[in-house]
């Protein structure tokens, strides 16, 4: 899987959306491909991957076949993709997946497992109360989990730093259990394909 493969997949989904083949909300990646590829170099099939509403890249890199993923998206489930076979769980609710990921990690530790949980979240989510609770708990109990913060400075169209009144986000300079990365959103907006579609 290459960066170009990822980009091409999202473009295919955008074309299907424009062709009115997807009767549901989609959230497409555009940017950050090289970083995502690097993150997944360290993720094994036994690991859990927990995502939000934007998760096509994670699904592909965890091993979900393109056709299988595309079928789920066409069925209208892009916003909360779940693939038990690949240990992927996603939620369309801000911050919703974080404590669930924490629980999976706690279960792994209690059972003596050696696998790991990777939880992806955006910059605005990283400033929520539930994120702070979950990250603090994971640090204090040394749970097998990494929170991957993907910072594009925005929550939909709202600037995270402006609304919180701070120039630097809480985990921006690094913290235990947190991996922080920045990217610039490319051609796709928060939701949809960037073009008005009349369904």
């Amino acid at each position: 899987m290459t960066a170009q493969d990822l980009i091409q997949f999202e473009n295919e989904i955008a074309d299907l959306f424009k062709a009115k083949q997807i009767k549901a909300v989609i959230h497409l990646y555009s940017g950050g491909e090289e970083h995502m590829l690097k993150v997944f170099e360290g993720i094994t099939p036994e690991d859990w991957v927990m995502c939000s509403w934007r998760s096509h890249y994670q699904c592909l890199l965890k091993g979900v076949p393109k056709d299988e993923l595309k079928a789920e998206i066409l069925a209208g489930r892009s916003i909360a993709l779940c693939f038990p076979k690949y240990r992927i769980v996603s939620s369309g609710i801000v911050g919703g997946i974080l404590p669930i990921a924490l629980g999976v990690a706690l279960g792994i530790k209690r059972s003596g497992g050696t696998n790991h949980v990777h939880c992806f979240l955006g910059d605005m989510t990283s400033e929520t109360g539930i994120a702070h609770e979950c990250i603090k708990y994971s640090q204090n109990f040394n749970l097998p989990i990494t929170f991957h913060v993907e910072d594009n400075r925005l929550s939909v169209c709202t600037d995270t730093r402006t609304t919180w009144g701070k120039a630097e986000l809480t985990f921006e300079l690094g913290a235990p259990k947190v991996e922080f990365s920045k990217y610039v959103t490319g051609k796709y907006p928060h939701a949809g394909s960037g073009e008005r579609i009349q369904f």
Partner: protein, 179 residues
């Protein structure tokens, strides 16, 4: 304590025999509430004391269930469970549908209606939201423990069910000593 309490304690001992079961909440590993005393014969290794963080506790419960455990997650008041509604309604209840039946997390939620006698805890601790939760949830059954004889069958069902549903078991604080 009456038969109602005794049956609760017997039910917790029965649940604890299952190696998948783990208990979590506030005042679970230490003293603090009437619910605590129902766990006095449960091994400390199966009890996880939680900070006060209701939504995180419920999310952890869902995650534990996804990983193969059966969490018994405890909320001494319905009013406290309101702080975890996102995890109950948007996640525990919906994951089965979101995953085409692939994920069927099974959790047991113990919730209490605050006792009014001899001291009233006032309106923020006396909520009973059974009907509201029934309207919001498709994959969570809510069972009310009206009588002592209702208790053991309810928890046995919650543990052994294979229909992909979780269970909220509603206890009455006043009945711990009155029935």
């Amino acid at each position: 304590m009456g038969l109602y309490f005794t049956e609760l304690r017997r039910s917790m001992e029965y649940l604890a025999l299952d190696e998948r079961v783990v208990f979590l909440g506030q005042a679970v590993a230490v003293k603090g509430t009437s619910m605590t005393t129902t766990l006095e014969n449960v091994s400390p290794s199966k009890r996880i004391e939680m900070p006060v963080t209701e939504e995180m506790q419920m999310g952890i419960s869902v995650g534990l269930a996804l990983n193969g455990s059966i969490p018994v997650t405890m909320y001494p008041r319905w009013n406290f469970l309101l702080l975890a509604v996102n995890q109950v309604v948007n996640h525990l209840d919906k994951l089965k549908k979101m995953s085409n039946g692939g994920y069927q997390p099974k959790a047991i939620i113990r919730v209490g209606i605050g006792s009014e006698r001899p001291l009233s805890p006032q309106c923020q601790h006396l909520g009973d939201f059974t009907e509201a939760f029934r309207l919001m949830c498709e994959n969570i059954e809510i069972i009310r423990l009206e009588e002592p004889e209702d208790i053991f069958p309810a928890y046995k069902k919650a543990l052994e069910r294979t229909d992909g549903m979780s269970t909220i078991v509603v206890e009455y604080g006043d009945y711990y000593s009155e029935k």
